[in-house]
């Protein structure tokens, strides 16, 4: 366990799956496999991030993703701080850029960010000297979720290439769907999108997915059924007529699942709405559902990402005051994102 073998990644931040190569993804998944084994030991702790600081900055409430990143950092020996928007200056009107500058001045080594607006994590990363990891930005990307899903599939089925994966539910608002579509496509899987037209983003077919409005047709012979969460406020007439109707046509139950391959796996990024998008018994079926396993893989994948990104920076002795870098990088009046 002491010789985890891997190279570093050719980038400083993990802002999305877009732009990753098959080799980058394989690199992360291979290292994650090693961390899965480590996490199953009694002694789960390593010290490769000893002396480093990781800040989890969450502008949206989250239990599992934040806990997962916290565990990942701690198991690698980092000092982990959790900040939530409700408890910080954000609610007092501080801008995202100012928050970034403030945090940057505290010299963290990794910043894990979740934000309700697409692109906000990328914007913040421009002002940070440390690695920034996107833990979900708006409807854009959630890269570690896609990586943990890929790890779960690869461990069960041995590969990603050539598999047929159905992603079902609220794809319009889902960052998980976008990241998964990209990752699975990059790795050579076939992706189907199953949803009512109101929950599909325009032009989604341009990402190379096959679209189905009928779930039974869409699930035919698939290897993986990936369910998405449908948020309460999007039912009741806005996007679909009712919970009852949604479950009838798009909820995963035994009858619809029977169209998939007999050994097809069921996945869900959580938290689940039992009885809305997935039948409760199916969610708990240990032969089909890998939902708990996804959570376990999540910690390992995040450890691998933290580990790999940290390899780009090595400890430097303090410099004298003459050569010291200014506290903040100068900022012109320029625009937010470039």
């Amino acid at each position: 366990m002491n010789e985890l073998t891997s190279n570093d990644l050719p980038f400083r931040h993990l802002l999305g799956i877009e732009g990753l190569s098959p080799d980058d993804i394989t690199e992360i998944l291979d290292l994650s496999d090693q961390y899965v084994a480590q996490n199953r030991q009694v002694d789960k702790k390593r010290s490769i991030l000893g002396g480093r600081t990781q800040i989890n900055l969450f502008f949206e409430t989250s239990t599992r993703t934040r806990t997962s990143f916290e565990l990942a950092g701690k198991r690698l020996g980092a000092d982990v701080i959790n900040m939530s928007a409700t408890a910080s200056a954000i609610k007092k009107g501080e801008t995202l850029i100012d928050t970034a500058a403030t945090l940057n001045a505290m010299h963290p080594d990794a910043l894990v960010v979740r934000h309700p607006h697409s692109g906000a994590v990328a914007l913040l990363s421009q002002k940070m000297d440390c690695s920034v990891i996107n833990a979900g930005d708006g409807s854009h990307e959630h890269p570690t979720q896609a990586l943990l899903d890929a790890l779960t599939i690869r461990r069960r089925l041995g590969h990603l290439h050539g598999l047929t994966v159905a992603i079902c539910g609220d794809i319009l608002h889902s960052r998980v769907a976008r990241s998964n579509i990209m990752l699975l496509s990059i790795m050579g899987a076939h992706v189907r999108a199953i949803a009512p037209p109101t929950l599909l983003p325009g032009a989604v077919e341009r990402m190379g997915v096959e679209i189905f409005h009928n779930m039974a047709e869409g699930l035919k012979d698939v290897d993986i059924v990936m369910m998405l969460r449908l948020q309460n406020e999007r039912m009741n007439g806005a996007y679909v007529p009712s919970t009852r109707e949604y479950y009838h046509f798009y909820g995963l139950d035994q009858a619809k699942l029977a169209k998939a391959k007999p050994e097809a796996l069921i996945m869900h990024p959580g938290p689940m709405n039992r009885g809305v998008e997935i039948d409760s018994d199916l969610a708990d079926d240990i032969n089909r559902s890998v939902i708990r396993e996804q959570v376990e893989m999540g910690v390992a994948v995040r450890m691998a990402v933290l580990d790999l990104l940290s390899r780009r920076s090595t400890n430097q002795p303090p410099v004298g005051p003459e050569e010291a870098a200014p506290n903040g990088r100068p900022e012109g009046p320029g625009e937010a994102a470039s």
């Binding site: 692109g119 708006g138 854009h140 032009a203 470039s338």
Partner: protein, 432 residues
Amino acid sequence: MSAVAYIDARLIDPASGLDASGALLTEDGRIAGLGPDLFNDGVPDGTTVVDCAGRVLCPGLIDMRVFVGEPGAEHKETLASASEAAAAGGVTCIIVQPNTEPVIDDVALVEYIKRQARDKASVRIHPMAAITRGLLGEQMAELGLLAEADAVAFTDADRAIDNAQVMRRVLSYASAFGLLICHYPEEPALARSGVMNAGEVAMRLGLPGIPTQAETIMLERDLRLVEMTGGRYHAACLSTADAIEAMARGKARGLPVSAAAAVHSFAMNEIAVGQYRTFAKTAPPLRAEDDRLAVVAGLAEGTIDVICSCHDPQDAESKRLPFELAATGIIGLETMLPLALELYHNGALGLSDLLAKMTSRPADLLGLRGGKLAPGAPADLLIFDPDKPWRIDEERFHSKAKNTPYHDRPVQGRPWRTIVDGKVVYSDPDGN
């Protein structure tokens, strides 16, 4: 009084079709004479002579859609700073939009703008007044009285009038006075949550989109209401192929309608949003390349009458935000001429046809005396070299705001002198 002779100029007057080498004489703020043979007998004594060295001399530009922060948001732009920016861009007349704080929906506020403009601005400033009180789309403003107070046209600025009955009555009432109703055609419910053009780029960025149909649906509704009422209608800025086609059909039916396009609708497409580039967040949004090409074609074919800058100043902080939260708008007064000239350099439009869309056409629509080279007309002039190469540089801007996506863009053509009422209000600091 002081007479100035502009000699060795390429005189272009889109109104009369003149495009010839010659000279122009101004006297007491007016054009006293012009033509190829003006000074055949020599320049009269006591006249100041300006050698244009073959540069184009045309009417000063008229910009029909300019947002200014005065009153209410003077930190973004004042009438004075907008005026300086206009002069530097060769624009001698700006039409300011009424979505200020307070809204320009009352005679006293029109008077206020006129007074501020007279005291502080070096170019002409005319206000458009609100169509509906408070821009709320419900009650008609005092259109007739506002027109008497010199509001040149009526608009709810960046808002569309959702209620078809209100719009019907506005067009109907305005027709009695021959007033121009300038509408931003965007179906509000379809556009509401959107922040950029709907399509692949928005989908990949996870941003809510504004479908092109939001523009087409509202424009088609408006055209039916024009047909019903006979009101004069101007589409404030068209950005989509389908809406331009609908406008062409409306014109073919003989409706009293006209349309403008914002510079950004032909100078960029949605790709400019790139990775959440908030300086490319505009209204109407940057569209797909097919729509951009349709705007160019619409300008060339005459379906689109007017080019406007849609100058919309925003402070740096309101742009340094996540894309969905960032302010909408691009400044454009100082980049309108060179970006419009790209259409000429690309062969899409002839120079005179292009200039017509920024001079004589808006003057006709608004009933302004300028916009032409004719004896007796105001000496509001632009002299520029259409070929001069340079790079757009935000540091050179006179506007208070710097929200431009065009910084560092190589362009051709720059104002050499801008003249209002016979007085030079801008001189290119790099030119002699």
